[in-house]
């Protein structure tokens, strides 16, 4: 397939995806698509710091939870629309990312990963503890009083589907623009060889911080949308380590440090999860996670650059083969 045709492929896909809700009305299937879009978007956000910035964060559930809880609690306590509440959530998530990132970036790989896991667990513990404010383990249901777009209340799955798709398109466009811009190029350099990049004037701590902040904002926005789509949040569903790991896995399986990797990864992981639930649902829960963990292991051992590398013949020259990292230390 020549490069010109390859450029049209995303547009063709977009057309197909836009049309799906017109023909498919089963809410469950639309929900699966919603989750694919959501994880693809979060994956792209995570990719900025975990892929390009080469800092493996296993704590992004913090930002998801902040986005979810902020927007929901603003509705519950102040009857404020999540369109504003969500923005506040994004801002708070950015603040959190600075608090976590500033001290943590200088830590070596595994330590950084551990520190982010710790932040995630601290957040979950705090959400559980301050029951009077957050309803703790009981969670917060969002009361449904009929269709109300301002409060993201719809009585069918289709609007949520389109919202998630819109978010994905917006974030993907931002990523595309960033790739070619100074910051995207600097991030690519940092991933390749941070020390060499610094010798060329790349202020890696600053750049990584910006990437981290942006990824936090994106994941927080997704958290807010998720909350209103599902109608109920609790610490274990929005602030768990498993969620953080799933976001990372989506990108790693798809293709770390690439633009479309997260989309492919999201499709694979979400479909795998749902399919195993459907067919092996009779078995006690956990079968899908076994497959998912196995997928992660297989990808790491056999195709570390991700499944997207199967499609690499269509790409001209960027974003190829991230296994060749010149120097393994990023400290």
């Amino acid at each position: 397939m020549n490069p010109k045709r390859a450029k049209l492929l995303p547009l063709a896909l977009l057309a197909v995806v836009l049309a799906i809700p017109v023909f498919v009305h089963v809410p469950y299937y639309l929900h699966i698509c919603f989750m694919i879009f959501l994880f693809a978007t979060m994956g792209m956000g995570w990719n900025l710091i975990g892929g390009y910035g080469a800092q493996l964060s296993l704590g992004h559930s913090v930002f998801f939870a902040i986005g979810a809880y902020t927007s929901v609690l603003f509705v519950v306590y102040k009857s404020l629309t999540p369109l504003v509440g969500g923005l506040v959530g994004m801002a708070l998530a950015v603040v959190a990312s600075v608090i976590i990132g500033l001290p943590c970036f200088r830590l070596l790989g595994p330590y950084f990963a551990l520190a982010t896991i710790a932040s995630g667990e601290i957040t979950r513990t705090l959400l559980l503890h301050f029951k009077d404010f957050t309803a703790g383990a009981n969670g917060v249901p969002i009361p449904f009083h009929g269709t109300n777009p301002l409060f993201l209340q719809f009585n069918s799955k289709a609007p949520y589907y389109y919202l998630a798709l819109a978010m994905l398109v917006v974030v993907a466009s931002i990523m595309r623009l960033m790739e070619k811009a100074k910051i995207g190029r600097y991030l690519a350099a940092i991933r390749e060889d941070q020390q060499a990049a610094e010798s060329l004037g790349v202020k890696s701590s600053q750049i990584k911080m910006i990437a981290f902040m942006l990824s936090a904002a994106i994941v927080a926005a997704c958290g807010a949308l998720y909350a209103f789509t599902v109608g109920y949040i609790d610490p274990d569903s929005v602030a768990s380590v498993n969620l953080s790991i799933e976001i990372a896995v989506v990108v790693i399986v798809g293709g770390i440090g690439t633009l479309w990797g997260p989309v492919l990864g999201a499709a694979v992981v979400v479909l795998l999860t749902e399919l195993t639930n459907m067919f092996l649902g009779g078995l006690r829960g956990g079968a899908n996670l076994v497959l998912y963990g196995t997928l992660l292991i297989v990808v790491i051992l056999l195709k570390p650059e991700g499944l997207i590398s199967f499609f690499n013949k269509f790409r001209p020259k960027q974003g190829v083969d991230k296994t060749q990292i010149a120097h393994g230390t990023h400290a």
Partner: protein, 290 residues
Amino acid sequence: MNPTIFLQTTLNGLMTGGVYALVAVGLTLIFGVMKIVNFAQGEFVMLAMYVSWMLATFAHIGPYPGLLIVGAVMFGLGYAAFKFLIVRVIGKPDEAFILLTLGLSIVLQNLVLVIFGAEYFSIDTPIKDEAFHMGGLSLSVPRLIAFLVALLMVAGLSILLNRTDLGRAMRATAESREVATLLGINPIRCFTIAFAVGIVLAGAAGVLLTPMFYVFPGVGTLFNLTAFVVVVLGGMGSVTGALLGGLIIGIVEALSSTYISLDLSQLFTFLIFLAVLFIRPSGLFGGAAK
């Protein structure tokens, strides 16, 4: 503040801390020798608990007599995990082994969930509720046994590392793989043994914990996080550090859950963790961390 409660809490924490140390020591050994953080360490603890439960339920072998059997099983599992999985990521960048062991922990935890279900099992041993009483304090027998065996194993490991040829070979490999090879040491063999022993230690900890903890698929995660904190506090690669770190964390956890709040006790463990990472990343006894 009631001195008896304080002493009792501290004593309990100390005893539990010994077991944390055992899990952490395995982790620190693996890191020390091969520079790999095993994110699945807790899951091996959990596996050992299930093996122990099966021995008790189907073969009527109690946890303490079963210790050797479980140890052998864990050695086999550790060896297999290394040979089929871990060895392939040695020398690759950090992300590889972080994600590999993470994937392994997900697989192990959920495989157990699928096979055994989510119910909480427990083992009945005759000494489960026994305790020594002295001066108003009670010392639960299983806890004491766990503590003593843990100390013994840590001491044993120390002897292995410092007084035997194998141990010396492992320490040389930890320092410099190239130099060790030049000295005729087979680094892969050292890595294999280090990993297997690390898993055996995790397994031993699991067995010792069964009289005191419920056995369920997620129990590993609890120990994972605590073990990491202990290892970072004590210093990656330091056996003494892991021991001391374990005791300290055990006490801190006990004190904070008694005096502050049960559900916040983990929070303090994490705060210590973060504090160590920022103030003294090499931990109490460790070498390189940054």
